[in-house]
């Protein structure tokens, strides 16, 4: 047995505990078996009470589950004791990189610190135990929180109205395009407007969303400076255009400095201007998309307002809209039905309830123009609690500082790394900067993938790679505002070291990573012979 394959002694199953003599300097890699391997008949972590005799007796005069509908074979769920269960998941957790373990400059994802007080708030029993169908009279706190968060998002974005319902950014895109379509239909242009324009630097979700809504995606090229090619956009716009979806700042981390002309051109053609708000964290207090003229935008609460990413969700993707799209928002909206909105806001900002104020959920059929529901109930409420807490903690000044420092850090890295890696769009960036590994690729045969894997050996999560698609060998770095200058400087050192290694010892980079729980995994084999679940036998 090789050293690296040796399981930890006493893993959850007790397997692999055979005695082997440790060697000095040996790096023991934990191989954690599946939870199923730890299962032993009769073990339990949770027990429930049995029904009382009175309950059994009362239930017996009601119809029982018919035999034909009953389960025959019990599901083979694991049978484990609580400690073994905890050890299993704790050991698995040790195999993860995470924000609280180290730097995570994953571009486009905004992996910044997720404040702990937000978690405290989301777990308050008064909020966590609120049932979405509780009568409004019992859910005034949940409704007020949703209403207040929507008010804050309106002020932040400059939009006229908000729906919190979409569960993620891509879900917000779907909601936005459905509203765009409903708008065109309401004007008798539903049939003619069939195309959604997306820049070639866009997120993959944009064209995928267009397809889901029944639209055709049309790609618009970028110009030499990394912005959308305005002439190509104007040429593509026409009576068949339903919407433009544009990320701003773009996925290159660049603010579209002709954005006013872009919006004017789109609206001049009768189309809807959609802003992908994934990068709103870069421009808080500087640019309000609704005020600038956009019709609709989704927020990524998990990015801009720092709710934890959870290994890939849950997120939340509320949408903001202009007056002309407001009638089409998903239903139901949280409404203030009694009380003066200014007074309620003023009081809440001062930490006070407003006597006599009353909130209610909009009735299901109150707004016939609505596109309907995109998700059950009103959305990922637990994320709203965290985002509300974050916005209130920061306040307006803090949110400005968020963007200032995020942009400052990204530009600092842009300048400090410019000698080591190519910078295809060498201009002031916003919250992220996109380098190219093409020099390393051409001169030393080192791909961006190799560079990313080498970064792993330094306890840092690599940047986003190979995106946006318009940058060859892209390395997309988003440092965020919560990383100290020492962390940024250490990263610069490491990146310079890797660039040097690419020229001096490229083979070492091709072998990376060496210190992670597993090495490079065979993804082709995984797709060729899919093994997607435990085989019990």
């Amino acid at each position: 047995m090789s050293v690296l394959e040796r399981p930890a002694s006493g893993d959850a199953s007790g397997r692999g505990a055979a005695f082997t003599s440790p060697e000095a300097g040996e790096a023991l890699t934990i191989v954690e078996p599946l939870i199923f391997d730890a299962s032993r008949p009769g073990r339990r972590a949770v027990r429930y009470p049995l029904p009382s005799d009175a309950a059994r007796a009362a239930a017996s005069d009601q119809p029982a589950i018919p035999e034909a509908a009953a389960r025959v074979t019990a599901p083979r769920l694991p049978e484990v004791a609580e400690l073994d269960l905890l050890r299993h998941f704790n050991r698995l957790s040790h195999l993860n990189h995470a924000i609280e373990l180290g730097f995570y400059p994953l571009g486009s994802c905004t992996m910044k610190y997720n404040p702990k007080v937000n978690e405290w708030a989301a777990r308050l029993p008064g909020l966590a135990d609120s049932h979405p169908l509780d009568p409004d009279a019992l859910a005034q706190g949940s409704l007020e929180l949703e209403w207040l968060l929507a008010e804050l998002l309106k002020e932040i974005s400059g939009f006229a109205a908000i729906s919190l319902q979409p569960a993620a950014g891509a879900h917000g895109e779907l909601t936005g395009l459905l509203m765009a379509r409903a708008y065109h239909r309401s004007r008798g242009e539903g049939e003619q407007r069939t195309k959604v324009l997306v820049p070639d630097s866009s997120h993959g979700t944009n064209p995928a969303t267009a397809t889901m809504v029944g639209y055709t995606a049309v790609t618009i090229p970028s110009n030499a400076r990394g912005g959308i090619d305005l002439e190509a956009l104007r040429a593509a716009l026409g009576p068949d255009t339903a919407a433009l979806m544009i990320t701003n700042p773009s996925t290159l981390g660049i603010f579209e400095d002709q954005i006013d002309q872009v919006i004017a051109a789109v609206q001049g053609a009768g189309a809807i201007a959609y802003m992908d708000g994934a990068n709103l964290n870069a421009i808080l207090g500087r640019f309000r998309p609704g005020e600038a003229g956009f019709d609709v935008m989704h927020f990524n609460l998990h990015k801009t307002f720092s709710t934890p990413h959870g290994g890939g969700g849950p997120g939340a993707g509320p949408v903001g809209v202009s007056e002309r799209l407001a009638p089409f928002l998903p239903t139901p909206l949280p409404l203030l039905v009694a009380g003066d909105p200014d007074e309620v806001r003023r009081n809440a900002w001062a930490g006070r309830a407003t006597p006599g104020a009353r909130f209610a959920l909009e009735e299901a059929d109150a707004r016939p123009t609505s596109i309907g529901k995109v998700r059950a109930f009103t959305g990922n409420f637990g994320m709203f609690v965290r985002a509300y807490t974050y916005i209130r903690s920061n306040g307006g000044d803090g949110l400005r500082e968020v963007s200032n420092d995020a942009v400052l850090a990204a530009n600092y890295l842009r300048v400090r790394l410019a000698d080591a890696f190519d910078l295809p769009y060498d201009r002031i960036c916003k919250h992220e900067v996109v380098f190219s590994g093409r020099r390393q690729k051409r001169q030393h045969g080192i791909s961006t993938l190799d560079i990313a894997k080498a970064i792993l050996d330094h306890r840092i999560h690599p940047p986003t790679i190979y995106f946006p698609l318009i940058v060859e060998e892209a390395l997309m770095i988003e440092p965020t505002e919560t990383e100290s200058l020492e962390t940024l400087d250490a990263f610069v050192e490491i990146m310079h070291g890797i660039a040097q290694q690419a020229s001096e010892d490229p083979d070492a980079l091709r072998r990376a990573p060496l210190t992670t729980p597993v090495g490079r995994l065979d993804e082709a084999a995984a797709a060729r012979r899919p093994d997607l679940r435990h085989a019990f036998d």
Binding site: E100, R352, G395
Partner: protein, 447 residues
């Protein structure tokens, strides 16, 4: 203030390195005509202040002492061990496992989640999760359309209306027509979807038949017969299930379901006013390439060590863009982790105990109300853990009892005008005999 660590000196150093005089210079590319003219937000709060504000809002909610509210979201015990695991920063502050070498914890836990959902549903493949049960159901319908190349979906009217509304929204996009299969809601009816009605509604243009088990009213549907009816029309059978019921009710794989969708909230996730929850989806292996959402698969590294990766990504938006199976990007990984931890904690015996106690207490509720002459079951069919009961003057009594901290279920009239004076009452393992006494007492005193 923000959570930024930078001192004034740090900022100066960075500005100097960049070669600009002030941070404002970094925003000079925003056209003057569209710069923000206002940003009037409340003042920052320190932790004790922000805690007070959130405690104020939590205090504005009145969590009922006794509640029989379900209708798709159920109050179950969230075992302490589940909260502990999902609270770990290594899980909660990581992201989509794009770099598998440093994401094996998330990836293996998703692989275990997929395995658990397959085992629970009797299906061959399960996704890494969806936003919620309603969107999973809608995505299942779209998947059925892709698989059959048909453009119509049939759905029982006894499927949760939240799910049916979301389905309608999703189908409006690609122009998929929805055919309603009327459940038997007549006086003295079963409250179920009959195979004969389904067969009548299905045509060779229908991609699938969607039926919920147990249905909105708690009723136990004849799933095997319904699956036969769907298949006879060349349509797929989409079973929408409640996961804890699968301890007692047949696994969808055993009655011919082609796609399974579910709301996973009962598996260790708090009600939290509607989310975040987790949508479950499972199917047959032959249709895996039309499944939406992330999938994790096992593979090996260069040294032969086992590891896990995101796989079959050629279905997904970041590769396929406009040709993707769905636009879904993030899922609900942390909620899926809660569900995996929950299912591992309770095991087969615990899940059976939970389901049995819930089902007994639901029948106890109906029996107690009927014995007291306060109401009667609206439908005749056997039910799992939720029951529709007709109670005279239900709306008024429901509201009056809510004021006293007792939520007497869900008034079905909100979604079904023909079900006036009918309350949908749910029980779980947390429903005590004392709760049921309080319910009966409340109904008596509001008579």
């Amino acid at each position: 203030m923000s959570y930024s660590p930078h001192t004034a000196a740090d900022r100066e150093r960075m500005l100097a390195a960049i070669g600009v005089g002030s941070v404002d210079d970094l925003f000079a590319d925003i056209p003057a005509a569209v710069r923000a003219t206002r940003f009037e937000l409340p003042a920052p709060l320190v932790e004790q202040e922000v805690r007070a504000e959130l405690a104020r809002l939590a205090g504005q909610n009145r969590i009922p002492q006794v509640s029989f509210l379900g209708a798709g979201v159920y109050r179950h015990l969230v075992p302490s061990v589940v909260s502990e695991v999902i609270g770990r920063a290594e899980f909660s502050t990581s992201y989509t496992p794009y770099q598998p070498e440093v994401s094996q914890g998330t990836l293996q836990s998703i692989y275990e989640f997929q395995s658990l959902i397959c085992e629970l549903t009797g299906m061959e493949v399960a996704t890494a999760s969806h936003y919620d049960g309603a969107t999973a159901t809608a995505e299942a319908a779209l998947m059925a359309c892709r698989l059959t190349r048909r453009h119509r979906v049939a759905i029982s009217t006894a499927v949760n209306p939240q799910m049916r509304r979301v389905l309608a929204t999703y189908c409006a996009g690609p122009g998929i027509e929805i055919v309603e299969v009327a459940a038997d809601l007549a006086e003295g009816g079963t409250g179920l979807t009959s195979a004969a009605t389904a067969a009548g509604a299905l045509s060779d243009e229908c991609a699938c038949l969607i039926v919920q088990q147990p249905n909105l009213f708690g009723g136990i549907e004849p799933m095997a017969e319904l699956a036969d009816a769907a298949h006879a029309a060349g349509a797929l059978m989409v079973a929408v299930v409640e996961p804890t019921s699968l301890a007692l009710l047949a696994a969808p794989g055993s009655y011919g379901a082609d796609i399974v969708a579910a709301e996973g909230q009962p598996l260790g996730i708090p009600a939290s006013y509607g989310g975040p929850y987790v949508g479950l989806m499972a199917a047959r292996m032959e249709s895996v390439r039309q499944m939406p959402g992330r999938l994790v698969g096992a593979t090996r590294d260069g040294q032969g060590r086992k590891g896990y990766v995101l796989t079959l990504q050629a279905r997904e938006q970041h590769i396929r863009r406009e040709k993707a199976a769905s636009n879904i990007c993030t899922n609900q990984a942390l909620c899926a982790l809660a569900a995996a931890t929950f299912l591992s904690a309770v095991g087969p015996e615990g899940l059976r105990e939970l389901a049995d106690l819930s089902s007994v207490q639901a029948r106890h509720v109906a029996s107690a109300i009927e014995a007291a002459g306060l109401g009667e079951r609206r439908f005749s069919a056997p039910y799992f853990a939720e029951v529709a009961i007709r109670i005279p003057d239900a709306s008024r009594r429901h509201a009056a009892m809510a004021e006293r901290g007792i939520v007497a279920g869900y008034p079905l009239e909100r979604d079904y005008p023909e079900l006036a004076d009918t309350l949908l009452l749910a029980a779980t393992e947390l429903t005590t005999d004392a709760d049921i006494e309080a319910l009966v007492e409340g109904l008596e005193s509001t008579r």
